[in-house]
Assembly symmetry: D2
Homo-oligomer: 430 residues x 4
Amino acid sequence: VSDPIWKKGAISLDEAVQTFCAADDVVIDRAFFLADIAASKAHADGLVRIGVLSEGEGQVIGEALGALGQRFTEGTFELDARYEDGQSAIESVLIDELGDVGRKIHTGRSRNDQVLVAVRLWLRDRLDDARAHTLAAAEALLLRARATERVPMPGYTHLQPAMPTSLGAWHAGHAEGLLDSAQALGAARELVNANPLGSGSGFGVNLALDRDGVARDLEMARSVVVAQTAQTSRGKLELFCLQALHLATLDVRRLAWDLSLFQMSELAFVRLPDAYTTGSSLMPNKRNPDVVELLRALPAVVEGALAETQAILNLPSSYHRDLQGTKAPLVRAFSRALQGIMLVPRLVEACGWNEERMAAAITPDMHATDRALELVKEGVPFRDAYVRAAKEIPALGARTPAQSLQARVSLGGAANLGLDRLEARLRALR
Amino acid sequence: VSDPIWKKGAISLDEAVQTFCAADDVVIDRAFFLADIAASKAHADGLVRIGVLSEGEGQVIGEALGALGQRFTEGTFELDARYEDGQSAIESVLIDELGDVGRKIHTGRSRNDQVLVAVRLWLRDRLDDARAHTLAAAEALLLRARATERVPMPGYTHLQPAMPTSLGAWHAGHAEGLLDSAQALGAARELVNANPLGSGSGFGVNLALDRDGVARDLEMARSVVVAQTAQTSRGKLELFCLQALHLATLDVRRLAWDLSLFQMSELAFVRLPDAYTTGSSLMPNKRNPDVVELLRALPAVVEGALAETQAILNLPSSYHRDLQGTKAPLVRAFSRALQGIMLVPRLVEACGWNEERMAAAITPDMHATDRALELVKEGVPFRDAYVRAAKEIPALGARTPAQSLQARVSLGGAANLGLDRLEARLRALR
Amino acid sequence: VSDPIWKKGAISLDEAVQTFCAADDVVIDRAFFLADIAASKAHADGLVRIGVLSEGEGQVIGEALGALGQRFTEGTFELDARYEDGQSAIESVLIDELGDVGRKIHTGRSRNDQVLVAVRLWLRDRLDDARAHTLAAAEALLLRARATERVPMPGYTHLQPAMPTSLGAWHAGHAEGLLDSAQALGAARELVNANPLGSGSGFGVNLALDRDGVARDLEMARSVVVAQTAQTSRGKLELFCLQALHLATLDVRRLAWDLSLFQMSELAFVRLPDAYTTGSSLMPNKRNPDVVELLRALPAVVEGALAETQAILNLPSSYHRDLQGTKAPLVRAFSRALQGIMLVPRLVEACGWNEERMAAAITPDMHATDRALELVKEGVPFRDAYVRAAKEIPALGARTPAQSLQARVSLGGAANLGLDRLEARLRALR
Amino acid sequence: VSDPIWKKGAISLDEAVQTFCAADDVVIDRAFFLADIAASKAHADGLVRIGVLSEGEGQVIGEALGALGQRFTEGTFELDARYEDGQSAIESVLIDELGDVGRKIHTGRSRNDQVLVAVRLWLRDRLDDARAHTLAAAEALLLRARATERVPMPGYTHLQPAMPTSLGAWHAGHAEGLLDSAQALGAARELVNANPLGSGSGFGVNLALDRDGVARDLEMARSVVVAQTAQTSRGKLELFCLQALHLATLDVRRLAWDLSLFQMSELAFVRLPDAYTTGSSLMPNKRNPDVVELLRALPAVVEGALAETQAILNLPSSYHRDLQGTKAPLVRAFSRALQGIMLVPRLVEACGWNEERMAAAITPDMHATDRALELVKEGVPFRDAYVRAAKEIPALGARTPAQSLQARVSLGGAANLGLDRLEARLRALR
């Protein structure tokens, strides 16, 4: 392991200081390591194109980087506290292996440069993952919506019985929310997918770096133009990506809240599969919906990450070490959120719905709104119809939920769920 | 003023309860009132198309709504505590003026329906405002960037002298950040611009509402399909819009921080116009950069609004009164942020830069990176070049900032700021 | 209205800038105005004691301040945009009324000084209010706990039936949480109750101000010693006070959540009084628990205020105009939270509990834990007892809730609620 | 390793579900493990006192727990994914080692009980640590304040030159802020130091647990009385403790911000020791104040933890699995904050101040406030004195900083820093 490049003399860094500075930075960098290697490869290829590296040098560096990535993936190279951070590790390995050629890799870039590009590449992948899982959840819900379109279910507002609805509408409603979130994740990806590499320390360098070429090699849609912007985007982009992710976790929370409520023994609309529940260590009679509750808590990690990132950014332009703190919450939030979102499709498929319980919970008063609007169709002004319908509630007991649902013909109502439209949007978002 | 439609009997609502429930809800609704009127008009037109209202009824309702909007704008109609909220006010006015015809306006919609569509229409406008102001700020900065492309300026990282840069790069860097934020604001607009009207209470209604027609009349790109989604999008969309707005305020804060720093008497790179400073009530010698400091605080209101909105959303699906609390922070954050962002163009134009002070602050050591990379071009491996350049610092005093800037030829460096590209992106985002 | 003291020349402040700077600062200052007047009086008295004002000058200033407070309270003096802020208003009125004597009031203090002391005085009162309301809520709950000690109620964890408990335990449990919060509010008060006046602009002044005497006059327990600390406590103290307030709103939210759940028609454990519910504009059949839902949202305003204040404080020492932004969220959060907390005692008293429904909801399996622990008392290791009890559930149907409660003899269990202890703590916290 | 106690049959928990549920819960529990062991010992002793365990059983359990703690501390027992969580691990080890006797340890307690008491014990220690480090930082600052009482330093507001102050005032000012925070940490400790053990699942148990005796053994000041409160305090107490910790990190941030600013080469008031700086990987000329910048970022982790915890708590009473998520942010925030706060004493001692640079930065205009107040002492009304002093600025060049400081005689001014008083408060807070 070579010394940090900036370590000039015999200064012994005090241990507590070093612990504090390092934090678990190098461990967090494991998340970004493969992205850093890929970007280092693209950087080296760019240096070849402008003649700073020879073709041969580019080749051996490329091979060494490839091998390092391989060993890291296989677990034979461990990124740990021997290295100051992931960025230094790459240079250190290349120097150890390639000597003077390795000493050339850091030409025209800073460690911040490396972090910026690696974080963007990693984020692009995580946003793609998040979008894929979000769309998979939407797809599972839409499939269930098709299958349950005619299953009556009591609709609540304020946790109070409101109107009959259908299990299909419930499934489709959650699906459409996820489509919105997938769109937001896509918008975040677009913002992220620009190459910051080549910004140096935020002021560019006196080399004719082929920045657009590097962007192309990394399959990025454009270059971040100004060197300063590449640096000051740090944290800001992360916030936008976290917010898009947050939307998806909010969808999951709504779904989880509903299930948590619907599985109460007093409602018993749904039975969660045993694999999604656990017991109590004290009470022999319990089966607890732990998975659903942990899914309900999913937004918390993202909100924590948002707050932690926000707290750092009150700074003048360009790099300050404070910004190191933006990495940990980002990794933590995406890892946890993805772990949760990916469970949704199978959870949705595994729920056992009790149609009798749901039908029985639809009480006569819940038909009052239907009745009021029928009176409207007969010419009664709505406000008068509203009063009359309230009085007629006792007479509404003969109505069936099915009748109510059949009449819900506006787009998005139980009789007209617009599933085709949602499926088309799902396909377009893929 | 008519009674609230749901007020059935002689229940006297206790005053403290009423104060607590009303909060300043009706005052906040002033922000959304014109949007609510516009959506009410579209709703009425839709009811005409499906035969619930006659052409004549639709016409008088439309005229009454138009007149109400006019009076509200002129200040002759005050939306105040006589009404429970803005939504009720519209119905109440129509009933007072049109009698039975007025009693028909609320057919097939709920107050939540009204809030949902009005908030989306209002947000669409505010996002457009935010984008316009953000792009105006970017444009002002790009203009200054053109004019100051060759003005040397010391570049800092960690608040320490780093490398020479140019005032043009500084301006362009801030401009590009704002372009990113404008793109995010556009993405938020896309998500918002869908019609929720017709969701009833989240379960649709037994009328064949022409929801897509209403969407068209409101110039919305699509309908929110599922009735439940229209309701559960509440708060979630607001968060995404607030986050996009947040990005723009973060840009403004960075700019303000830089100015706050650069105007310190020890640096004196910039003099803020007197109109942007104030004095001290105790110290006769002070001129304080208050505007810049208040701009630096701009993200705070948005972060407060994000947290306030987040705190409400941990709820099962469909409407709960808790959600009323999403309106106030939204209005507060957009109002304040817009007030601030719109000041940026003139602030940027009015700054007086001191080129001598900036040039003088570029010390010989700041050329060391240039020197290291020159050695690289001569074939020295970067790491060795780095060590040699550090030793040569005393000899770098003869270099001029201009030389340094001219050599910064990579895209986004001082000699190649890519202003054409930024201007093209600015135009595309308009 | 006199000009701002720092306005030296003919600079015309641009209107948009002025709007942005003023925000609604002067309106917010209404909250602090009486505290500012009281502190101004104490400051003037202090100036008399050190000979800067004559006895006679102190007297006329005191009288003018008293009259101003009176007029403000009566509504004949309006603090509005004629004044830059509340602090300037006081000086301006004194100058208009007393001429040269009025010109002396600002001796040895800055506007920040005024803000600091006024905010602390105001906060002290609000913390006292919050504590009083919190303790009143605890008291109402303890009274109900006494009355309902023997009323069985199903106990839930994970929203699943767990064990029998009592309505008394539920009431007492909420009461004790509020006692904790009252203690936190008291701790915040202790931190706040120190006199910052006399710090000048954070560096003291060349007068022998009688700071401890002013503290005594304002009934503050001590002086903030160092001038710089007085300034840098800005925002930090606010956060601690907001957090103490937050705890109380969290208690209210838990209570509200329980009521929201218990009033579901499927449970129907509690009926909220009509004065605490409202109807729907669309659905004739609804009575919605709006008050309880708005109480559930109470922490949101406080969390928003915490975030907004946090966002401002990332600054070097001493005053920056950014800090103006700490006032609005503070006032907003305390006003709203107090409005809500004060409703709790009457809400608690007005709830109509349905003892039959609660008793009926206690199913045989909920006695399994009791049974397991009985086996333990017979010598069976708990883990084995747990397994046996699970098998014996069908046989537990003969047990009554009353039996179960009587055996809950540990401190804090249903048969030993420790109400005396809680009442004693309540008295001690007053 | 024994099976989880609640695992009744052959249900195979799906792996992704298990990963999601476990998260790194068992790893986080390492923080609480020794506290859990100590509380388990106290619980066993309590069971002995009420006859549920024999003296002999209590003894072997106590010994086995002691040995487990020892092995854990030495590293020969690893708390890892073999166990569901730390709580289960203790029971599992006891059963493996003691058979039937081990099966008795969980009598009358739930895992939540264990978590509650372990978290409170752990928090009590961490709050003590935080208070000790905070007071150590204050002490170091007060020592430096004594030594630098007469060293002039320019005072800034709005980052603009304001008035002369002293380096002693700067040190003392930061010290006093830390004393406030130590007081807040003490208040949090008082709230935390109450025994929740014996609450069962929030409803007590049918055993006569000696809860006050257990409290005494754990050196806790009182018992949490109501079983329900013990459970619903979860998260709420954590927030209050985090907020107290937050205050201390805000103090550190202010200090770090000042140092970051004062070490700018344009000011050069302070030189940070080399051990507290690092270099750049690209720029050979840099020494960056990384430690100070990371200290400036210290509040971020705490703000993240506050937000993450807040996001979870919007729940009805009693336990839900969501609450598991309160542990990780708590451990993260305290660990990081303590790592940082403990560096402050040595940082403060190691700073090299440049008295010449500071003296030279005190410009004539900074004496204007002194001059105005001198005129006041001669009888000129302050407002007129202010105007005259502004005009006299050119004549103030002859004044020395020392003169200015000597006249700052109010408590907390440079000539009267009140260090005795601060030292006394420091001692009282220990």
